[in-house]
C-alpha cells in the first residue's frame, strides 16, 4: 500500500488485487469484474455459457447482472443498485466504423427502472482487453474513491482520494497524467461532475486521449442520471489502462473475414460520407436545418417545429467553428463525428474569460439547449455544452427541462418569486446558464430544475399552486425521462417510438419520423407496429455488441434506394452479420440478429415490470408530443390540423371555435395512440397490458423461474 500526493490531490491505495488476465477468445473474455464500494471487495467471476448465449454481451450482460443485483424494491440510491459497464464481443475492433462503444446501465433516479446509455471513448474496449466483458459497481463508499483497472500490470486497485477537483475535464486530465504520464493514450477515465451530486440529471464522461491535440476528449453516457448514481456511490472516477490496440486484440475466429468486412464498411464510409451527411466534417449538426425544414426541430418547448433563425445553429455555422482534424471516439473510426471547438471563451461561470476546449455540440445539444429554449446563438450553445460536460449534466434533460421551466414561466405558472428573481422567459441566455451554475453549486432554483420534469411538475403544483393538468400536457417527459429533441406531433409512429421505448423517450430505439410523416411509408397501424418491432430490435443489437449505430444508416450504399425497404439498409445488416460471425465464430445471417436482440429487449421490459413499471399505463405520453395543446399551437398550423379533422376523422368543422377543434382533435389523436399500442403489443408478443406473454418468454428462452414468478404475480399465466 502506498500514498501518492501530487500538488493538489492525494490518492491512498486501500485495496489491490493482482490477477491473471483472462485471455480474449473470439471477442469474449468470459469474465466479469465486480467491485463493492461498501466492503471494498473485488471479485472476478467466470460468465456462464447460458448468459453468453442468451444475452450476447454489452447491454445484455449489464441487464443480467443488474437483474441479479437488485430487488423489485431497490431504489436508485440504495447500495445494491449496480452501475454496469460493458463493451461487447465486437467492441474494440480498430478501424471498424463505430467499433468501440461502451454500454452503461443502472436503476435511474428519474425513472426507477433500468436506464441504458451507449457511449464512445476508450473505456469499454480497454476494460475488455484488461480481462473483463462487464464491470459491475455496487455498494456505496463513505469516502471518495478512484478505481483503477490496469490491464497492463494485471491489477485492480481501489484508492481513497482527497483534494481532487469535481470538474470533470480537469479531473480526467489529472488522472490521465497520473496513471500514464508517458503514454496518456493508454488511459480512459469515467467520471462525472459537481452538479451530478446535486441533481438527478448527472451524466458520465468517458474519455479518450486525443494524441494530435494532446488533450483528453469526452463522450457522454448522458441519459437518465447515471452520473448521479455514480456520484452518490462516492466514485470519483473509474480508470482503465491498456496498451497496444490492434485487430488481434479480440482474437477473432476468422481474422481475414473480419479484416475484409472492416475494409468494406470503412471504405464505403470514406467514399460516401463526404457526399452524403459529411459527418466527418459537421458531426450531426446537418440535422438542424433538415429538421427545421420539415417542422421537426423543437422550438420553445416543442411548441413549434421550425424557426427562421435556425440557420444560425446548423451545419453551415458549426462547420466553420469546429476544430479541424480527426475526431473519432474510437480508434480508426471512419465516421469520426465527435467534433469539438478549441479556444472557446465562456462569458459566465468559473471559466469566464479563459480559453477552453468544448467537445461538441451534437444535434441533440444544439436543439435542446438552443432552439428548444428559443435561443439561436451557436456560442451560447457551446457554453451550455461545455458547462454541462464540466458539471456532469445530460444536455438533453437539461435542454428539455429548462424549456419546460420557460414555458411555465411564460404561462405564469411560476414567477420570479419562485425562481429566485430570475426571468426565465424563452431566449434568456444568461439565466439559462445561471441555472447550470446553481446546479453545480447546489443552490437556488437550479436545484429544483435539476430534479427533472416529473419532479418539477409535482413541486410546482404542490408548493407554487401551478395548474397540474396543463403541466402534464406540456412537460415533455415519459416514464420520468425527458424527451430527446425531435417533434413528433405529426408522426404517430415516432410517438410510439418514444412512448413505448423501454427506458423512456430517447430516439435510439426507433427513429421513424421521416418514414412515417414525410414518406407515408407505413400508413396502417400494422405497418407502424411492424416498424416498432424491427427497428427497436435491430437498434438494440448495436448495444449488445459494443457498436455505434451511425455507420448502419447514416451513410448508406449508393444503390440502397433501389431496395424496397431502404430504411433497413440491408447491405449493411449483412455486413454486421458477417462481422459478428467473423469475430465470434457463431455463424449468423441477417435474419438471426433480430432474435438475439428480442430476448434482451423483452428481458428489459420484464425488468421494468420487476421494478413496478412496464405496463401499458407507463407507456403514456404528454399531449404536447401528440398534438397541439394550446390554441396558439393549433392556429400556427391551422391548415394541417383542420385537414386532419376533416379528412382523417370526418369531422365537420364549419363554424367551430378553435378551442373546440383542439379538444376534438385531442380526443381522436389520443385514441389513435391507444390503438397503436394495441398493434405494437400484439406484434411484440405482449399482452394488452404491455407485458410479454408466457409464450413469448418461452420462445425467447428467458423463462427463468423468477421471470415466470413475476409474470404470475402480474396475472400472466
Amino acid at each position: 500500500m502506498a500514498d501518492f500526493t501530487l500538488s493538489d490531490f492525494t490518492l491512498k491505495e486501500i485495496k489491490t488485487l493482482k490477477y491473471v488476465r483472462p485471455e480474449i477468445e473470439k471477442g469474449y473474455t468470459d469474465h466479469s469484474l465486480h467491485i463493492n464500494l461498501s466492503s471494498r471487495e473485488i471479485e472476478i467471476k467466470p460468465i456462464d455459457k447460458m448468459v453468453k448465449d442468451k444475452f450476447i454481451g454489452g447491454k445484455g450482460y449489464d441487464l443480467w447482472f443488474m437483474w441479479n443485483a437488485v430487488t423489485g424494491k431497490t431504489k436508485w440510491n440504495d447500495p445494491e443498485n449496480a452501475i454496469c459497464i460493458a463493451s461487447g464481443p465486437l467492441g474494440g475492433t480498430p478501424g471498424y466504423p463505430g467499433g468501440g462503444k461502451s454500454i452503461v446501465t443502472t436503476i435511474s433516479p428519474l425513472t426507477g427502472i433500468p436506464i441504458d446509455s451507449n457511449v464512445g471513448g476508450y473505456f469499454g474496449p480497454y476494460a475488455k482487453f484488461s480481462g473483463f466483458d462487464v464491470l459491475e459497481l455496487t455498494g456505496k463508499s463513505d469516502t471518495e474513491m478512484v478505481v483503477l483497472i490496469d490491464g497492463i500490470d494485471s491489477k485492480i486497485k481501489i484508492y481513497e482520494v482527497s483534494g481532487l477537483t469535481d470538474d470533470s475535464y480537469e479531473l480526467s486530465m489529472k488522472l490521465t497524467d497520473y496513471f500514464d504520464k508517458d503514454k496518456p493514450v493508454n488511459i480512459s477515465v469515467v467520471s462525472t461532475g459537481s452538479a451530478a451530486k446535486n441533481t438527478e440529471l448527472g451524466c458520465l464522461n468517458f474519455t479518450w486521449f486525443d494524441a494530435k491535440r494532446k488533450r483528453v476528449r469526452y463522450k457522454q453516457a448522458g441519459r437518465g442520471g447515471i452520473g448521479t448514481v455514480f456520484a452518490h456511490k462516492n466514485i470519483k472516477a473509474v480508470v482503465a489502462r491498456w496498451g497496444s490496440v490492434s485487430m488481434k486484440n479480440n482474437n477473432p475466429a476468422d481474422p481475414e473475414a473480419m479484416k475484409a468486412v472492416t475494409k468494406l464498411h470503412a471504405g464505403e464510409i470514406n467514399t460516401l460520407d463526404p457526399k452524403q451527411n459529411r459527418m466527418a466534417l459537421v458531426g450531426t449538426t446537418h440535422l438542424v436545418p433538415i429538421m427545421n425544414d420539415h417542422d421537426c426541430l423543437p422550438v420553445n418547448n416543442f411548441r413549434y417545429g421550425n424557426h427562421p433563425e435556425s440557420h444560425n445553429i446548423g451545419e453551415a455555422v458549426y462547420e466553420h467553428i469546429f476544430d479541424k482534424g480527426f475526431d473519432g471516439c474510437w480508434r480508426g473510426c471512419a465516421v469520426a463525428c465527435a467534433h469539438g471547438v478549441k479556444d472557446f471563451v465562456p462569458f459566465t461561470g468559473p471559466y469566464k474569460g479563459q480559453k477552453v476546449f468544448v467537445d461538441g455540440p451534437e444535434y441533440e445539444t444544439v436543439a435542446g439547449c438552443g432552439s428548444n429554449l428559443g435561443i439561436f446563438d451557436p456560442f451560447f450553445i457551446l457554453e451550455m455544452n461545455f458547462y454541462c460536460d464540466t458539471y456532469g449534466l445530460d444536455t438533453i434533460s437539461i435542454g428539455t427541462g429548462i424549456a419546460f421551466v420557460m414555458e411555465c414561466f411564460e404561462m405564469g405558472l411560476i414567477t420570479t418569486k419562485h425562481t429566485g428573481g430570475m426571468d426565465l422567459s424563452f431566449g434568456n441566455r444568461l439565466n439559462s446558464l445561471e441555472l447550470l451554475h446553481q446546479m453545480a453549486r447546489g443552490e437556488g432554483f437550479g436545484m429544483i430544475v435539476g430534479k427533472g420534469i416529473r419532479n418539477m411538475k409535482a413541486i410546482f403544483a404542490r408548493d407554487f399552486g401551478a395548474d397540474a393538468s396543463i403541466m402534464q400536457d406540456i412537460g415533455m417527459e415519459s416514464k420520468g425521462l425527458e424527451f430527446s429533441e425531435y417533434m413528433t406531433k405529426e408522426s404517430l409512429a415516432q410517438q410510439g417510438g418514444y412512448g413505448m421505448a423501454l427506458k423512456g423517450p430517447q430516439h435510439d430505439e426507433a427513429w421513424l419520423i421521416f418514414l412515417d410523416m414525410v414518406h407515408n411509408f407505413m400508413p396502417t397501424f400494422e405497418n407502424k407496429a411492424e416498424a416498432l418491432h424491427w427497428f427497436p430490435m435491430f437498434r438494440t443489437w448495436f448495444g449488445l455488441c459494443g457498436l455505434c449505430k451511425l455507420p448502419w444508416n447514416d451513410i448508406v450504399p449508393e444503390d440502397n434506394r433501389q431496395n424496397p425497404e431502404p430504411a433497413k439498409v440491408m447491405k449493411h445488416v449483412g455486413w454486421y452479420a458477417d462481422f459478428f460471425s467473423s469475430v465470434t465464430g457463431r455463424k449468423v445471417s441477417p435474419d438471426d440478429l433480430i432474435p438475439m436482440s428480442e430476448a434482451v429487449y423483452n428481458f428489459q421490459r420484464l425488468f421494468n415490470l420487476k421494478m413496478g413499471y412496464g405496463k401499458r399505463e407507463h407507456d403514456s405520453l404528454p399531449y404536447r408530443s401528440v398534438g397541439p395543446v394550446t390554441m396558439d399551437e393549433y392556429n400556427s398550423r391551422m391548415e394541417r390540423y383542420d385537414k386532419d379533422l376533416t379528412e382523417n376523422y370526418k369531422v365537420d368543422i364549419t363554424g367551430m371555435e378553435v378551442a373546440e377543434k383542439v379538444a376534438i382533435l385531442r380526443k381522436h389523436r389520443e385514441a389513435r395512440y391507444e390503438t397503436l399500442k394495441d398493434a405494437v403489443y400484439k406484434r411484440r408478443g405482449w399482452t394488452g397490458n404491455g407485458i410479454p406473454t408466457l409464450e413469448t418468454v418461452k420462445r425467447l428462452g428467458i423463462d427463468f423461474p423468477d421471470v415466470i414468478e413475476l409474470l404470475k404475480l402480474n396475472g400472466v399465466v
Binding site: K275, Q276, N277, T284, H286, L287, P289, I290, D293, H294, E315, A316, E362, Y363, E364, S484, E485, Y486, H507, W511, I513, F514, L515, V518, H519, F521, N553, D554, I555, V556, E558, N560, R561, Q562, P566, A567
Partner: protein, 65 residues
C-alpha cells in the same frame, strides 16, 4: 450539364429539384439533397432552381440521431 450522384445529366434553364427527381428512379425516399454543398429539403424542391454545372447529391433516407 449537371452532376447528380457523380453522373452527368442534361440541364435546362429553370430546372427545379422536383423536376430533376421526376426524371430519376427510386427517389421516393429522397427528402433532402445537397445542391453545390448546401442542403435543400423537400418542402423547397419545387421552388429551388438548379444552376447550370451544379453538383448534386441525393442524401440517404434521414435516419435521426
Amino acid at each position: 450539364m449537371i452532376t447528380v450522384d457523380d453522373k452527368q445529366m442534361e440541364w435546362h434553364q429553370g430546372m427545379t429539384i422536383k423536376e430533376l427527381l421526376d426524371e430519376l428512379e427510386h427517389v421516393q425516399f429522397c427528402a433532402v439533397v445537397r445542391l453545390n454543398g448546401k442542403l435543400v429539403s423537400s418542402p423547397a424542391f419545387e421552388t429551388t432552381r438548379i444552376p447550370d454545372s451544379a453538383v448534386i447529391y441525393l442524401l440517404p433516407l434521414i435516419a435521426g440521431g
